[in-house]
Every structure is written in structure tokens, then in C-alpha cells.
């Protein structure tokens, strides 16, 4: 049975004289998108359960500027970045975990030059560490017995930052069969959402990128397509619907699968 959780904001912690060990950067998608909010909640439940001293910025968080930057609006990006850096540095944040590879990449790689230096982790890396440290026990892993899971590498986690193993290792904790798509890791195919594509119509072509990618996934006959990015999640979900496979194939974030296996989700 899932417990009642109160999510601390950094402001609350600080006014109580405490500092968060780790800031959970929720991201715009994780804050506003109904599907992505479920991932956010799963991450929070994991953090809480593992006893991580975390906090979120709440209303003080604002877009990292990733979609603006990749679309070419460097002004808007830097405005966003400077604002965020002022807030983060004001609270003396040292360590950040994000639920979105785009936030992860930009905070880790593009903020330092503008004065924002943090240790940044993707949530699958943190989850993997927690499992390894024994802080997150997955008792109910058997519920995945006999299920086939395939992991779709998010470009901004994999190719962009060479994180390939953490999400896979985390998934190993489940008693499921991990199957790789023909194109995976360095050769993984984009879901079609990056570079601000999420916010516009695709250019004319003969297919949508997410459909092409979902084909790759369906080829290995999975029960679950595991994702590590809210945008990939949306794209793959749409792709599965396109093939009318939503009854037999689930699209779930690594955090959701782990939280489910650890029996942390409200039923």
C-alpha cells in the first residue's frame, strides 16, 4: 500500500534550516503533461522510499531553455538559464537529479559556462545506484516474470552523454527478459521529439519518425517498451496506438517499472 507523501520544496527546507541533499528537477513535461506527471510521481515515490533527502523547486522552477536553444533561440535559452542559475546558486544546490534527458543534458553541459556548476544525474542513474546500494529493494520483481522489456535509448541520454548502461542495469532488477532492438545504444533511432520537434508539425515525408521507431520496438515483440524520457514516452505511446497495439504493449518509464515492482505505486 502506498504511503502518504509530502513533497518538500527547497524553500520550505531552507526556511526550516535544512538543505536538500539532492534537488529533483521535475522539468516542464514532468510538471504539466498528464502522462509525464505519472513518471514524476513514480520518481518521487522512489526517492521518498529510499530515504533520499530531496526537494523540488516547485513554482520557482522554470523551463531550462532546451527547446528554445535547439530551435536556435539562444537569447531565450540564456535568459532562462541565467534565471535558473540564480535560483539554484541562491540555494547553493550541489546535486541535481532530473527525470528528463533534455534537462539532464542542458544542466550538465551547457549551464556550467554560464555559472551553474552542479553534479547532474539522470533518474535512471540514481535509481540504479539506489538499487546497488541496497536502499531500494525490489521484492515484487517476480511480477514481471516472463515479460519482455525493450529499452528505447533517449538520444540526449545515450548518444549525447554516453549513458547506456544505467537504465539497463536498473531494469535487470526486474525478473523480466530484457531484449534489445536491432538499433540500440549508439545506433539507437530518435523518437522524433528532440530539437524542438515536439512543438511543431513534422516536415513532409513518407512516415513519422515515432512510427519508424515503434516498428523497431514491436519487431522484438515486447510486452513493455521502457523509456527514460517523457518525450520518448509520448512518442512511443503514440506509435503503439498507431499500430493499435495499446492493449498488448505498454509504454512505461524505467522509474514507473521499478516503482511498480517495489510496490510503491497506489493501486
Amino acid at each position: 500500500m502506498a504511503e502518504h507523501i509530502t513533497v518538500p520544496t527547497v524553500a520550505q527546507l531552507v526556511s526550516a534550516g535544512e538543505v536538500p541533499e539532492i534537488l529533483f528537477w521535475v522539468g516542464c513535461s514532468g510538471s504539466f503533461d498528464d502522462r509525464a506527471k505519472k513518471i514524476t510521481k513514480a520518481i518521487v515515490r522512489i526517492l521518498h522510499h529510499a530515504g533520499v533527502k530531496y526537494a523540488v523547486l516547485g513554482a520557482e522552477e522554470t523551463c531550462t531553455g532546451d527547446p528554445a536553444k535547439r530551435a536556435g533561440n539562444e537569447f531565450l535559452f540564456q535568459m532562462q538559464a541565467m534565471q535558473n542559475i540564480m535560483v539554484l546558486n541562491g540555494y547553493e544546490i550541489k546535486k541535481i537529479v532530473t527525470g528528463c534527458p533534455h534537462c539532464f543534458n542542458i544542466l550538465k553541459n551547457e549551464y556550467p559556462e554560464l555559472g551553474g556548476n552542479y553534479e547532474v544525474m539522470h533518474h535512471t542513474q540514481l535509481i540504479n545506484d539506489l538499487i546497488k546500494e541496497g536502499k531500494l529493494a525490489i521484492k515484487g520483481g517476480e511480477s514481471f516474470k516472463g515479460r519482455r522489456i525493450t529499452f528505447h535509448d533517449p538520444c540526449y541520454l545515450g548518444r549525447a552523454n554516453d549513458v547506456y548502461e544505467a537504465p539497463r542495469e536498473a531494469l535487470q532488477a526486474l525478473d523480466a527478459e530484457l531484449v534489445e532492438m536491432r538499433r540500440c545504444k549508439q545506433k539507437g533511432l530518435c523518437c522524433g521529439a528532440g530539437g524542438a520537434q515536439m512543438f511543431k508539425e513534422a516536415e513532409p515525408g513518407n512516415k513519422e519518425v515515432n512510427v519508424e521507431r515503434t516498428e523497431d520496438a514491436l519487431e522484438v515483440k515486447p510486452n513493455v517498451i521502457a523509456t527514460g524520457c517523457p518525450f520518448c514516452n509520448t512518442m512511443m505511446t503514440d506509435g503503439v496506438k498507431n499500430f493499435e497495439k495499446e492493449d498488448s504493449v505498454e509504454v512505461k518509464d524505467v522509474a514507473e517499472l521499478i516503482a511498480e515492482a517495489a510496490d510503491l505505486l497506489p493501486s
Binding site: 506527471k37 528554445a68 533561440n73 534565471q83 516536415e203 515525408g205 512516415k207
Partner: protein, 453 residues
């Protein structure tokens, strides 16, 4: 003697034309913007050793990778033999290295022959792959015309050069045989034959010997000399041709990988000019009326034409081998969109060549009413990129087409305020609500309330 003079002249002309073209390319690349790529030297040497020398990214496609390796090793090693041929041309002494080479020399010549044969076979397979088998990346639109001929010209040239080399050896060996016969019979060796001392081993060209065995001594000498001249002039012609062709990668690949982007692939440059302006805007103590110095060049944001790109992006364009691995991995390209990262690189080079010709005739960059953006690369192509970096991952010589795409987008947005409508509203949302969607910022914490619901 006449032959030696003729050789030196032809050789000098080849070197001169090559050097002139290299200077031209240098000049073209140097119109690019400054960027420092000389840090982390150890890592740079390591990258170059792995990627260019060790071909580590070629093997991602095993068949092409293996064949390419043959041609590459063949090219490098056979050049040792070419050195001897050049010295032969200058001094008039045949098989110069044989006198102090002994058994090693025989083994080397034999090894070169085997390599030459392998190169020949690889080139034939390449020709078949390009022209007979339907491989998508060789058939994309941007390969029509010159790029396709360029690839074929070089492959055919290599086949001919290798054939000439082997034929030369075949005749040589036959002539060596004649000399040996005469010596055995105790006869004097005529001057014309004194060249052909016994040296080398000919595991491959011996199979060609029947082709020439019927010839008399004069015919053999003529054929041997013809093949010799054909081979060396061919090589010099190759030298002059290469810097006009995508095959310039055989040289450019080395410095280009040395100057690779070493940052994570996802990291994109933060524009310094923008940082300065944003700092001014956010700093309440800054003097809003502080004018930039009058002689300061107006800051341009992003790239509209080749001179707005960095020299490294221009360097990339001359290194591109047009192999199309980038485009065949590109999600936009695979789903039938106009974008092809290879075309981005080819367009950049073609436009740079055009600008270079203007500089040649005018001494400085003149406005010819054209630009890389639109005359070469359309907005539609630019907007199709997901910045997924599949292209940079696939490129065997570490080229970065995404950075060019981004810089062109930056020009569109920051200089022309031109973006697809939905992108404009995304910008507005980020600016006004702090999120790419039109949700009020106050709702950011709503999920917290829902958590225990």
C-alpha cells in the same frame, strides 16, 4: 637523360599544382570564424590515432570497413614502392633499394603485389556496390552528377593504377629472366637490359606474365616503360585531382579528427555575444545607455553564409567523404524528409568553393547576392533536424553537421525572426509562462497535490 629531365618536370608540375590547390583550400577555410581546438592535446592525439589511423568508426559497417581498410593500407604501403619509383625516375637507376634490400626487398615487393591485388579487388567490389547493387545511401539525390562520377573516377583510376603496377612488374620479371638466360649462356648483357637486375618476387604479377610472354625484348622494355610512366603520371594526376575531390579525405581525415569536438555530443555552444547581452539585461546596475565602441563590428547571430561558420565547420566540409553514413542513420532522412546531413556538408563545401572563387577574382569576399542559407540549404531541411546526433555518431571522420544546422537556425530566429508558427508560440510560452506549453506557472506544483489523491 631526357627521360630523367622529363620525369623531374612532370613531377615538379604535379607538386606545384597540388600545392597551389592546397593553398586555395587553406585560404577558403580561413575565412571562417575563430574557434579554439588545441586544448586537451593527449585526447586529440588519441582520437586521431583511433579514428583516422585506426579507422575505428569504419568498422561499424564491417563489409565496407574491411574493404576500405584494404585500400587504405594498400595506399599507404604501396607509396613506399612509389618512393622507389620516383627515385628511379630522378636517378635513372631501376630498383634502387634492391641492392641493399636482399631477401627483405623480395618479400616487400611480394607483399606490395598482394596488396595491390587486394586493392584492385576492393575497388571492383566498391564499383559494383556503387553502380549495380541498390544501396540507398549511394542513390540519394545529392549524389547525382559530379559526386557520383567523382567516386567512380577514382575507383577506376585505382584499378588502372594497380593494373599498371602489376603489369610493370610482370614485364620486369620477364626481362630479368632474359638477363639471367644471357648470363647463363656467358653472353654480354646489352646496355638496354642492364636495368633489369634480378630482384623482387612476383607472386601476383607472375600470373600476368603470359599476357606479355610473346613479346620480344624491345616490346617488353617498351611495355615496362609505358606501364612505369602510366603509373607514375597516374599517381601525379591523382595527387592533383584529389584536393578537388571528396578523396581529399585521405589527407584531411587526420587533422580533422585531431580537431574533433571533444565535448559530449549533446553539448552545444553557448554564444558569447548573447551571454554579454543577457547579462546586461539582467544586471540592474548596468548602464543601459552604454553604447558599444563605435568601431565595433555589428554582432551577427548565427550563420547565414559560410563566412559566419567557424573554420572547423568549413574544415569539416572539405573532409566529408560523401559516404552518406550520416544520412542513412538520420531519422529525418529515413522517414523521407528533405534533410540529409551529407547534403548539408556538401552544400557547405560547394558554397565555400563559390565564395572562394569570388575571393580569387576580387581579392576579398564580395556580395554575390547568394548565401548558404536558402540558395543551398532550405528552411525546410533545417527544421526537420531532431538534433539526435545519429549523424555525428555515424561519421567515420568525426564531422559535425548538427552544429551547422543549429547555426543556420540561429540566424533564422535571431536575425530574421523566422520560425514555424508553432515554434514561435513555443517561444512565447517559454518567455511568458516558463514552459513550452501555455500553462500558468502557478500550476507547476499541481502534481504534488495529485500525488496522494
Amino acid at each position: 637523360m631526357i627521360a630523367q629531365i622529363a620525369f623531374v618536370l612532370v613531377f615538379a608540375a604535379g607538386i606545384f599544382l597540388f600545392a597551389r590547390r592546397v593553398r586555395e583550400i587553406r585560404r577558403n577555410i580561413s575565412i571562417g570564424q575563430a574557434v579554439d581546438r588545441t586544448d586537451r592535446k593527449n585526447e586529440r592525439w588519441r582520437t586521431m590515432t583511433m579514428v583516422a589511423l585506426g579507422q575505428s568508426k569504419m568498422v561499424a559497417r564491417p563489409i565496407a570497413g574491411f574493404l576500405h581498410l584494404l585500400v587504405y593500407v594498400g595506399f599507404v604501403l604501396i607509396n613506399i614502392e612509389v618512393l622507389e619509383i620516383v627515385l628511379d625516375g630522378i636517378t635513372g637507376h631501376h630498383r634502387l633499394f634492391a641492392s641493399f634490400g636482399g631477401g627483405v626487398y623480395d618479400a616487400l615487393i611480394g607483399a606490395f603485389e598482394i596488396l595491390a591485388a587486394l586493392v584492385l579487388i576492393a575497388c571492383v567490389v566498391f564499383l559494383i556496390r556503387r553502380n549495380v547493387i541498390n544501396i540507398r545511401r549511394f542513390r540519394m539525390k545529392e549524389m547525382d552528377g559530379w559526386p557520383k562520377s567523382d567516386a567512380n573516377i577514382i575507383l577506376v583510376a585505382e584499378v588502372l593504377l594497380m593494373f599498371a603496377l602489376l603489369s610493370m612488374n610482370a614485364c620486369d620479371a620477364l626481362l630479368q629472366g632474359k638477363v639471367a638466360e644471357l648470363m647463363a649462356a656467358g653472353q654480354e648483357i646489352p646496355e638496354a637490359l642492364s636495368h633489369y637486375i634480378e630482384a623482387g618476387s612476383f607472386p601476383v604479377s607472375s600470373m600476368l606474365q603470359p599476357l606479355y610472354a610473346g613479346m620480344d625484348v624491345d616490346g617488353l622494355i617498351m611495355t615496362e616503360r609505358f606501364m612505369w610512366w602510366f603509373h607514375i603520371i597516374g599517381i601525379l594526376a591523382f595527387l592533383v585531382y584529389v584536393p578537388y575531390s571528396k578523396h581529399f579525405h585521405i589527407i584531411m581525415a587526420f587533422p580533422n579528427t585531431w580537431y574533433s569536438k571533444l565535448e559530449p555530443k549533446g553539448q552545444m555552444t553557448n554564444m558569447e555575444a548573447v551571454t554579454n547581452e543577457v547579462k546586461l539585461m539582467l544586471d540592474p546596475s548596468a548602464d543601459p545607455y552604454a553604447a558599444p565602441p563605435a568601431d565595433a563590428a555589428p554582432v551577427k547571430f548565427g550563420a547565414k553564409d559560410v563566412q559566419d561558420l567557424t573554420w572547423k565547420q568549413l574544415f569539416d566540409s572539405y573532409t566529408c567523404t560523401e559516404c552518406g553514413r550520416c544520412s542513412s542513420e538520420c531519422p529525418a532522412n529515413q522517414t523521407g524528409k528533405l534533410l540529409s546531413p551529407r547534403k548539408i556538408m556538401m552544400d557547405t563545401r560547394d558554397r565555400l568553393e563559390e565564395v572562394g572563387k569570388n575571393i580569387q577574382s576580387d581579392g576579398s569576399i564580395k556580395d554575390d547576392g547568394k548565401s548558404l542559407l536558402r540558395d543551398y540549404i532550405s528552411e525546410e531541411e533545417l527544421w526537420a533536424c531532431t538534433t539526435c546526433n545519429a549523424c555525428t555518431e555515424a561519421c567515420p571522420v568525426n564531422i559535425d553537421p548538427v552544429s551547422i544546422i543549429l547555426d543556420l537556425r540561429r540566424h533564422l530566429i535571431m536575425e530574421e525572426s523566422k520560425s514555424p508558427e508553432s515554434i514561435t508560440s513555443m517561444f512565447n510560452n517559454v518567455e511568458n509562462n516558463g514552459a513550452p506549453w501555455a500553462f500558468p506557472a502557478a500550476d507547476r506544483g499541481k502534481w504534488i497535490e495529485e500525488l496522494n489523491a
